[in-house]
Symmetry: D2
Subunit: 375 residues, 4 copies
Amino acid sequence: MTKIKLGMVGGGNDAFIGAVHRIAARIDDRYELVAGALSSTPEKSQASGKAIGLARIYDDFKQMAIREARLKNGIDAVAIVTPNHVHYAAAREFLKRGIHVICDKPLTSSLADAKKMVKAAENSDALFILTHNYTGYPMVRQAREMITGGQIGKIRVVQVEYPQDWLTIEQDFKQANWRTDPAQSGAGGSTGDIGTHAHNLARFMTGLEVESLAADLDAFVPGRQVDDNGHVMLRFEGGAKGMLWCSQVAPGNENALRIRVYGETGGLEWAQEDPNYLWHTPFGEPKRLFTRNGAGTGDAAARMSRVPPGHPEGYLEGFANIYTEAANAIEAHRDGSKADAAVIYPTVMDGLRGVEFVDACVRSSARNAAWVKLR
Amino acid sequence: MTKIKLGMVGGGNDAFIGAVHRIAARIDDRYELVAGALSSTPEKSQASGKAIGLARIYDDFKQMAIREARLKNGIDAVAIVTPNHVHYAAAREFLKRGIHVICDKPLTSSLADAKKMVKAAENSDALFILTHNYTGYPMVRQAREMITGGQIGKIRVVQVEYPQDWLTIEQDFKQANWRTDPAQSGAGGSTGDIGTHAHNLARFMTGLEVESLAADLDAFVPGRQVDDNGHVMLRFEGGAKGMLWCSQVAPGNENALRIRVYGETGGLEWAQEDPNYLWHTPFGEPKRLFTRNGAGTGDAAARMSRVPPGHPEGYLEGFANIYTEAANAIEAHRDGSKADAAVIYPTVMDGLRGVEFVDACVRSSARNAAWVKLR
Amino acid sequence: MTKIKLGMVGGGNDAFIGAVHRIAARIDDRYELVAGALSSTPEKSQASGKAIGLARIYDDFKQMAIREARLKNGIDAVAIVTPNHVHYAAAREFLKRGIHVICDKPLTSSLADAKKMVKAAENSDALFILTHNYTGYPMVRQAREMITGGQIGKIRVVQVEYPQDWLTIEQDFKQANWRTDPAQSGAGGSTGDIGTHAHNLARFMTGLEVESLAADLDAFVPGRQVDDNGHVMLRFEGGAKGMLWCSQVAPGNENALRIRVYGETGGLEWAQEDPNYLWHTPFGEPKRLFTRNGAGTGDAAARMSRVPPGHPEGYLEGFANIYTEAANAIEAHRDGSKADAAVIYPTVMDGLRGVEFVDACVRSSARNAAWVKLR
Amino acid sequence: MTKIKLGMVGGGNDAFIGAVHRIAARIDDRYELVAGALSSTPEKSQASGKAIGLARIYDDFKQMAIREARLKNGIDAVAIVTPNHVHYAAAREFLKRGIHVICDKPLTSSLADAKKMVKAAENSDALFILTHNYTGYPMVRQAREMITGGQIGKIRVVQVEYPQDWLTIEQDFKQANWRTDPAQSGAGGSTGDIGTHAHNLARFMTGLEVESLAADLDAFVPGRQVDDNGHVMLRFEGGAKGMLWCSQVAPGNENALRIRVYGETGGLEWAQEDPNYLWHTPFGEPKRLFTRNGAGTGDAAARMSRVPPGHPEGYLEGFANIYTEAANAIEAHRDGSKADAAVIYPTVMDGLRGVEFVDACVRSSARNAAWVKLR
């Protein structure tokens, strides 16, 4: 099987998420990373590219898009892992040249950019995959399959939260700086960085869209320019209600993304830090604990899983699942066929929904947490 | 030591909470239950009183208050464990005759009654104790002591929730019926029955008052006349923010009251179903798990605890602690002395705050979850 | 209902277990404590008896047995809560006068005494109840009922352990001193004090008797005269195998009694520190978590439980269940009837089995952990 | 950086562990898999090799060793992932030609082979790495570092267990068949397959060697030729004691490897199914929960970790750590330098110790669980 030739924009020496994308692309051996423009200056790009042994190193993403598109064996796909405000400008260059885009979340730093991104994707024959990586966890797929299958009945209540603690105090290093700079991250701080993950997970697992929300955002650390804590009440289409909490100032929480969904006949509970477990609580019966690949789990989880039950898979494998779904789709695209119906990945529309969520949170909070529609 | 002579109003044969109060009063051997008007009719009161071997059985609470007040060795205190709408009428009769009142929560079924209750208590020399029993758990006391002692710094965020599942479907038995009848329970359903516990626990543990709230209440089960799910955003005096969730339609949750408090330097987490544990998460250090009576715990918890660490105490012991605090206060009152400063119990003012909370939730929800002041 | 008149031997001012017995006897209101010889000297007995308001205080247990037996309304039953080496001498005096005995575990400090105790009980019309209190936990009853009902198939493996940490270092206070003095505790240290609990729990839950064992005992703390850590391999009648670990030198363990039972078709797991939960793991199905009084639990647990699911009961309620079972049996005895078949309590024969277990551990360890029969 | 050229013996289409090795080798991008003899027949080897796109496919391991050794750019290292009884014959061919060997555990199926393997490794300039993969988990390294650093004092007690449930019933598929066939797996069943992991983990974490043991082994499933459950008491050099339980018939256990170590001043607890956590229980202080890469963890864990705390790493990353340690050692070997002192991997001597452990278990059990020395 010919591997997919991959390029990367962003992800230079001191970045966290670039290395994650590279491991994720390697785990299932479907990609070959061959080109990159890893940093914001030509010098750093060269240095970072050499450090990881790239075959072709470019000064910037535009140069890369132009030249790779001309190569006979140029990249099939590009991973964009820059700060948020660069996503659109970079993705556009590749999309318009028919190169598939695998883009980190949130989609963009502004709603205007997000809408342009949707257009750019629609106008391109290339695929657009957004790495809302938590949708790649097998037990998240299991939960979605159970909900779709009616195992908890019509949904009434969704509780989702993503608390962290790393911004409890003022921080001063690259990862912290761009995430707390509205010019780079967008108007949402915790809402954009992690609230979007919580929002997307709720949508993905339940299949429900948030119709309106009321948000009370705070920047607790003195001098912080974006929210570091967000309290949000949600109203879903069809009548379900929800609460969403995102925080970067909750000591003791590392990446404590957690979701609980309650329907008319049962509940489900999943937590990112212990991702190989899924609680199912059918009303009137004992609680049941499903394990990844364990007894009673279904196809949706099994196809996302590599090792036997009791051998934990983690964040990187979940991330790899997004890359592998992308590979499935890209290969089908290459063959002119249709990807298997089981293949799922977050799209540019999911990305737009996420930016709308951040925008709605900021608008609501500015109006004393009034209810606002998401679009 | 002469035991405190106790009477009881409500708590007849098929009541749940009456039996709990009786066990709670027995555990530390400070009370002697001698009189009662346990049911709403003279016949049932006689039957229920005989079943538990009461010395003096009355037809109704008024008769009981009048006669006991006249007895040389009449009751010192009365436990009121009726449905909410009877609390005020009953308590008034005893308060005005100088008999101490130990009353179940919420204080009353209406804000008007709550204010009258405060007046009645203020005009009486007798004590008024509200059984917000969760404040009796040793590790709740431990958390409060740590917060007061500055161990998590200035509080920023409070997350509190009390989900249950027993009203997931329509129910038809006494406990369910009065709790879902606004004439008996008050305008709040889940907000009144368990939201008040969550609200009070947050106040007790943090020492902060809720200034305003925005509430989105639902009655998910068709035909239900009061809320069975409440989403509430909180703003505390001094700038802290919070979220409160109460639900009776969340399958898999029995009595899952849980609170998490985050300050500038650390966090605390406690859950009612596993009450012998308290997590302390100082920022930048490993998490610490405190156990009841275990290493590192302080006086506030130790004086509420009976058995060595690792031997779990539960709901009844926590409830008994309220009775024992009441006994401490009543005995000091009898002696004309002042109870030890460590003695704490929920008062009529705590009860008023709870009813204000319910009232504010209902008012806010009626106005599309607008922010409302609690008073 | 006339309460059972109870006396107590041991349990003076600085004892732990005496207070536990008294609370346990009070919780369900079936006993009235009226007499006692609480300490080893007349002076201390008087002081301790007055402190808890006893009606009749005796200098020693023999005086108490003689006089109470002569009283028209003397005690019906006596609780013996002295150090182990006094159990037999005290119990004998009451048994031979027809007074029921509720005795703390282990039965005696020597095998010779244990056999005499069995005889004394057999020769008496009075009942003998041993407070192996962990058999009173509702979820232990639930597990036993499930095993009896065949829900995990024929048992193959039993893993039971009771680690503590309080004797990790040399201690010098009353509770520690008598428990580490072979003259008072018997030849077993951790094996006698807590190993007997583990052994009895395994027997009670599975219905299987240990046939032989191999024990490797240690006294890790310098100067300690009895074992503080015991490793034991078990062979049950019928072919099941087991491991038992007891330790008082395992830092971080408070009273971490835990049992796991595996049969041909499923497993069960229970832990004393979180006693309201029971895991059931049917082979080939998701794990199930049963909760006390929760969905799917049976009669054996329900009759031992006071409050709704999600409201934890603990050590004292489990202990109270033994007292209540004793009350059921004593009242049936008084009426000349037969106690309900559901009534279960540890007997003098269970006590003998426990002392045989300690004796076998000590014999085996002295022979380099050779296999020895228990009797 | 030039990647290490890797070959593979075993790991054909229906094998589990071969795929694991391949992912583990890819994760950190230090290896390039170029050659293989993946199955026991030439036809299957060809088919399996093509399926994963190998550059050079061989009929059998001998042919592969001979030819690769002659190639200018032949493999630097070979991964041996066959059933146990083939390990020695295969490894020998590569070792004697100076090709590094990365071999699955247990080292061999017999003690005689294990000793020959040690000689073969000693006589070769090539490195020998045994994939006792659990030693690659970051929190296992953390625990080892803490023990070495004296944070729990002199060790007294080690409790280690590895229960599974997949052989609770008779199974008939390739993975089950060879593991229960003494001709392929060796005389130990559960002891060899997973007991060796438990034994090695105890040695690795504590730095202590088992001096003697007493083992009671069973084959509970009718017709099974090797043990499926083992109870083992351990005596370590220096006086520490331990218990080891391995089982493949414990329903509800997937890969529940768990170790608890208790010293004079504290304890540590780690479980494979939740590998990102480590409990530290200093005597007399609250329990502390360390998380992978989280607050308070040290260098030994940090160098084994890829993503921030709260993002779980799992089995594959732990396995990859062994491959990466091997890469560190192989590259130092290539450069003629010495690997960094922090580089640790299981060696052929660790493998010998494991086979001695299995041999001792089988000998002891045959003598009614008598104590036997390991060598």
